[in-house]
C-alpha cells in the first residue's frame, strides 16, 4: 500500500472531534466504575446495620476515598495522553493520604497505648484488605477499557493510576459496609489496600493497555 493512498483514505470525510472527548470518556468510566463498586458492595456485603451510629466515620471514609479518586483522576487524564515529558508533581497524589495520616497519628498519640492494637487492627482489617481489591475488579476493567481508547505511552504509570482510581472508588463503596470506626484504621488499611490496587494496576498496565 502506498502511503499517499493511506493518507487519502484517512483524509476523506474527517469527523470533527469535540474538545473534551478524552475527559468525558474517562470521567464517565470513573463514574460508572464507582456505581459498579457500590453495586458490588450492596450485593456481596450489604450496608452496615448501625448506620445511625457510624455515619460520621462513614462520611470520613467516603471523603478520604473520593479525595483520592479526584486527585488520581486528574493524573489519569494526563497519562491517558502520550507522555510528552510534562509531568504533574507526584506529591499532589500524596495529599489525601497525608490528610488522613496526620489526624490518625494525633488520635493514636492521644490514646492510651493499651487501645492502640484495637484502634489500628480494628475487627475486620483482613476483610478490608481483601474486599476492596475484589470490589475494585469491575471498576478497574471499565477504566482500563476507557484508557485503552486513548493513547497512553507510559503503560506502567497509566495502569497504576487506573488501579489507584479503581481502588479508591471501591474503598468508597466498601466504606458503606465497614464498621471499623477509627482514624488509624482508615489511614492504615484503606491506604494500604488502595496502594495494593495501584501496584496490581501498574503490573497489569503494560499487558492490558498496549494499543496498536
Amino acid at each position: 500500500m502506498k502511503t499517499d493512498d493511506l493518507i487519502a483514505m484517512l483524509g476523506t470525510n474527517v469527523e470533527p472531534v469535540s474538545r473534551g472527548q478524552l475527559a468525558r470518556t474517562i470521567g464517565a468510566s470513573v463514574l460508572i466504575g464507582a456505581g459498579a463498586a457500590v453495586g458490588t458492595m450492596l450485593l456481596a456485603f450489604g450496608i452496615r446495620p448501625d448506620l445511625s451510629l457510624g455515619w460520621r466515620f462513614l462520611f470520613l471514609k467516603v471523603l478520604f476515598s473520593l479525595g483520592v479518586t479526584i486527585v488520581a483522576s486528574i493524573y489519569l487524564l494526563r497519562v491517558a495522553r502520550p507522555d510528552t515529558g510534562r509531568k504533574i508533581p507526584a506529591a499532589v497524589l500524596a495529599t489525601p493520604f497525608v490528610a488522613i495520616m496526620l489526624p490518625a497519628a494525633v488520635s493514636l498519640a492521644s490514646a492510651p497505648v493499651a487501645h492502640w492494637n484495637r484502634m489500628v487492627a480494628g475487627n475486620q482489617w483482613l476483610e478490608c484488605l481483601v474486599s476492596i481489591p475484589v470490589i475494585a475488579v469491575v471498576p478497574f476493567a471499565i477504566i482500563i477499557w476507557a484508557v485503552r481508547r486513548m493513547a497512553p505511552t507510559d503503560l506502567v504509570r497509566a495502569g497504576g493510576l487506573a488501579g489507584l482510581v479503581a481502588g479508591s472508588v471501591s474503598a468508597a463503596g466498601y466504606a458503606l459496609h465497614c464498621t471499623d470506626d477509627s482514624l488509624p484504621f482508615i489511614a492504615l488499611w484503606y491506604s494500604a489496600t488502595i496502594a495494593l490496587c495501584t501496584i496490581a494496576g501498574a503490573m497489569l498496565g503494560p499487558r492490558l493497555l498496549r494499543w496498536t
Binding site: T3, L10, N13, V14, L22, A151
Partner: protein
C-alpha cells in the same frame, strides 16, 4: 517546505474541527517527518529499510485514530513524537530486537529530518480490509474509500449514521492492529 510547529498545529486543530483538507495536509507533512525520524532510528539499530514504510503507516493511523488524545492547548510536535517513539518501541518489541538502544531525545528530532522519498509498505489494503468484520469493512469502503457522506453510507448499509461512524473508527483501529500483527 519549512513547516514548523505553528503550521502543523494549525492544521491539526483544523482537522479536529472537521477540515478534511487540512487533516490530509497534516498527514502528508507528518509522513515525511516520520519517515525521516524512523529511518534515522532504524539505521542506528542496523535494520533494513524494508519495514520503514510499515512503521510510517502505522504511526499515521495511530495519529489519526487517536486524535482525540491530543490536547489543543499543548504543542503538537511533542505529541507526535511521543506516539512515534511508542510505535517504534512497540515495533522493536514485536520484532524481538533489543530495546536498550532506543535513545530518549528532544522532540525536535521529529522535525529535524524530512524525507519525501519512498512510500510503499508491505501491507495490502484490500487484503487487510477483507479480514475486517463485514460492518467495519463496508463502512470504511463507503466513507473512506468511495467518499460517500456518512448519511449516504448509512442509507446504503441500512444502519444509523452513528453506527457508520463507530464502524469506521473501530475499523481503522482494527486495521492498525492487523498491520501490527502481520509482522
Amino acid at each position: 517546505m519549512a513547516v514548523g510547529e505553528v503550521e502543523l498545529k494549525a492544521l491539526m486543530v483544523a482537522g479536529l474541527n472537521g477540515d478534511a483538507a487540512a487533516h490530509r495536509m497534516l498527514l502528508e507533512h507528518l509522513s515525511a517527518r516520520l519517515r525521516g525520524y524512523f529511518r534515522g532510528k532504524l539505521a542506528r539499530l542496523t535494520r533494513g529499510p524494508s519495514e520503514l514504510e510499515d512503521l510510517v503507516q502505522e504511526a499515521l493511523i495511530a495519529i489519526h485514530t487517536r486524535r482525540h488524545a491530543y490536547d489543543r492547548d499543548e504543542p503538537l510536535t511533542p505529541w507526535v513524537y511521543a506516539i512515534a517513539r511508542y510505535k517504534l518501541i512497540d515495533y522493536l518489541r514485536r520484532s524481538r530486537a533489543s530495546l536498550t538502544d532506543v535513545p530518549l531525545e528532544e522532540a525536535g528530532d521529529v522535525l529535524a529530518r524530512d524525507d519525501h522519498v519512498g512510500a510503499e509498505s508491505a501491507h495490502d489494503l484490500k487484503t487487510l480490509l477483507n479480514q475486517l468484520p463485514e460492518k467495519m469493512r463496508s463502512a470504511i469502503q463507503c466513507v473512506k474509500l468511495e467518499g460517500l457522506s456518512v448519511a449516504e453510507a448509512a442509507k446504503r448499509c441500512g444502519t444509523s449514521e452513528s453506527a457508520v461512524k463507530v464502524n469506521v473508527h473501530r475499523g481503522l483501529r482494527a486495521l492498525a492492529a492487523l498491520m501490527a500483527r502481520e509482522k
